[in-house]
């Protein structure tokens, strides 16, 4: 496996551990604010205050867990403990999410190095996992984080946050548009996940706009295609109609993948229409200061958002653009298309499945 794919796997593992934690903490923060109003943090003692507080404490664990999970993925169990500590440090020295990535990789590969290179006499083998690895990894990686990595990464992080908060009007629309197009471009694939990583990282820093754009980019494709189907049914095959029956409810839950079968038959038209619709929706959401404190949950968490009404309007406009484009642009289905689809179902395309090797055991 090449280095990029290897790194990506570890980062994705980190994200997969982190998602439920952000959802739990984010929903607590949002619920607290909805029950207790915007000044909930000052009303100590109310239930809303405590719920909000639970969310806040939960959120402070996101970077440590993310860092630890990356280290765990790379170095297995010995990576976990030092990873947690380094992740906590990353919060403390204000390097946040980016620091968490760097720290997790640092700890993971350092522990892996220790496991392989550090040889102990048989009698002291037992000390390796409980003492030598955790202590060495924590001291060495902790100092590297604070002394070497801390300042530049904190600078990068703050510059990014400042840039995002200083944007006005047109540039907000532009950045929102790019993020929207990225979120929808490959329907839950690597480009979408890159944008997710960016949006989740900013969420932890309390910047909620990109997260809302992610929602829009994930939900415009199924909604837009469903709309286009309602306007021009004759442009969709029977198989696509069946796929849509699953894709639309999946879309409500913010799972985009359901539209892949529909995109596959008509890649360029569907991808372009979805990306443009999501770009418009995402841009509008940024201009209207829509924000989501929650990273997942689809339509069910819309009430928890900032400016939820404008979120729905942005989503509708984006879906309408996508749906309208598709209905105008797609050709009518011919008898051949229907047949082709059936054949495809039977005999899958000789697609390039990329390179893979048969190995003994798992590397």
């Amino acid at each position: 496996m090449n280095v990029g794919a290897e790194l990506k796997k570890h980062l994705l593992t980190g994200i997969s551990y982190m998602i439920p934690l952000i959802v739990a903490a984010g929903i607590c923060i949002a619920l607290g604010q909805i029950i207790g109003g915007p000044d909930v943090a000052d009303n100590e003692g109310s239930i809303a205050y405590y719920i909000n507080q639970i969310g806040g404490w939960g959120m402070s664990l996101v970077v440590p867990l993310f860092t630890a999970a990356i280290a765990l993925s790379i170095a297995d169990r010995p990576g976990l403990a030092p990873g947690l500590i380094i992740g906590f440090i990353s919060n403390e020295i204000e390097t946040g999410f980016i620091g968490g990535i760097v720290g997790g990789l640092l700890v993971g590969y350092f522990v892996l190095f220790l496991k392989k290179k550090l040889k102990m006499p048989q009698s002291m083998q037992g000390l390796m996992p409980v003492m030598i690895i955790p202590v060495l990894a924590t001291v060495v990686c902790g100092l590297i984080m604070i002394l070497l990595i801390g300042r530049p990464v904190a600078g990068l992080q703050n510059a990014l946050l400042e840039f995002l908060s200083s944007m006005q009007g047109g540039s907000r629309f532009f950045v929102g548009g790019i993020m929207g197009a990225m979120a929808s471009f490959d329907f839950g694939g690597p480009v979408n996940k890159t944008l997710s990583l960016f949006a989740d990282g900013l969420l932890v820093e309390g910047v909620y706009g990109p997260q809302a754009v992610k929602f829009i980019g994930s939900m415009v494709p199924p909604f837009g295609i469903a709309l286009s189907f309602l306007i021009t049914r004759y442009k969709y095959t029977k198989m696509e109609k069946e796929a849509l029956k699953a894709a639309f409810p999946m879309g409500i839950c913010m799972i985009t993948e359901g539209v892949i079968p529909i995109a596959a038959r008509d890649l360029i038209r569907v991808v372009s229409s979805c990306s443009i619709g999501s770009a418009v929706g995402g841009g509008l959401a940024m201009v209207w200061n829509v924000g989501s404190p929650v990273p997942h949950g689809g339509m069910f968490v819309v009430p928890l958002m900032e400016n939820p009404v404008f979120f729905v309007i942005s989503l509708l406009i984006g879906s309408t653009v996508t749906g309208g484009m598709l209905s105008l642009w797609k050709p009518a289905v011919t008898a051949e298309d229907e047949l082709e689809n059936l054949e495809e179902e039977e005999e899958e395309e000789e697609d390039d499945i990329g390179e893979f090797d048969l190995t003994r055991g798992v590397q």
């Binding site: 796997k9 994705l12 993925s73 996940k193 799972i255 899958e348 990329g354 893979f356 003994r360």
Partner: protein, 105 residues
């Protein structure tokens, strides 16, 4: 041929289960026996038993993330791919793996 598989994706709610379904469908239509374990966010479901792993001739891991319990397959022929490969063309993957197995013999 007997096949066992493991599926796992990033969010652990969609691709994991799509990959499982596609693998089962693809393998069965080629006349193979298959069992697939999923490692979603909910945890391990339909865990493979030691016997199943022992009698399997091929292990297919469809994962975007690091999976748990890799050491169970330490002396097995393993094919490891991202979930999207399995979702897109499960049959080609299996056929290709068979070809490689024959070459290795």
């Amino acid at each position: 041929m007997k096949i066992v598989g493991v599926a796992a994706c990033t969010a652990g709610i969609a691709h994991t289960y799509l990959a499982k379904e596609k693998l089962i469908k693809g393998a069965e239509s080629l006349g193979h026996q298959i069992r697939v374990e999923t490692q979603g966010t909910i945890g391990v479901e339909e865990e493979l038993t030691a016997d199943e792993i022992k009698s399997a001739e091929l292990v297919i891991i469809a994962a975007d993330v690091n999976i748990n319990g890799k050491d169970r397959f330490s002396d097995k022929p393993v094919v490891k791919v991202p979930t999207h490969v399995v979702i897109k063309s499960p049959k080609n993957l299996i056929k290709n793996a068979e070809k490689q197995m024959r070459q290795n013999q």
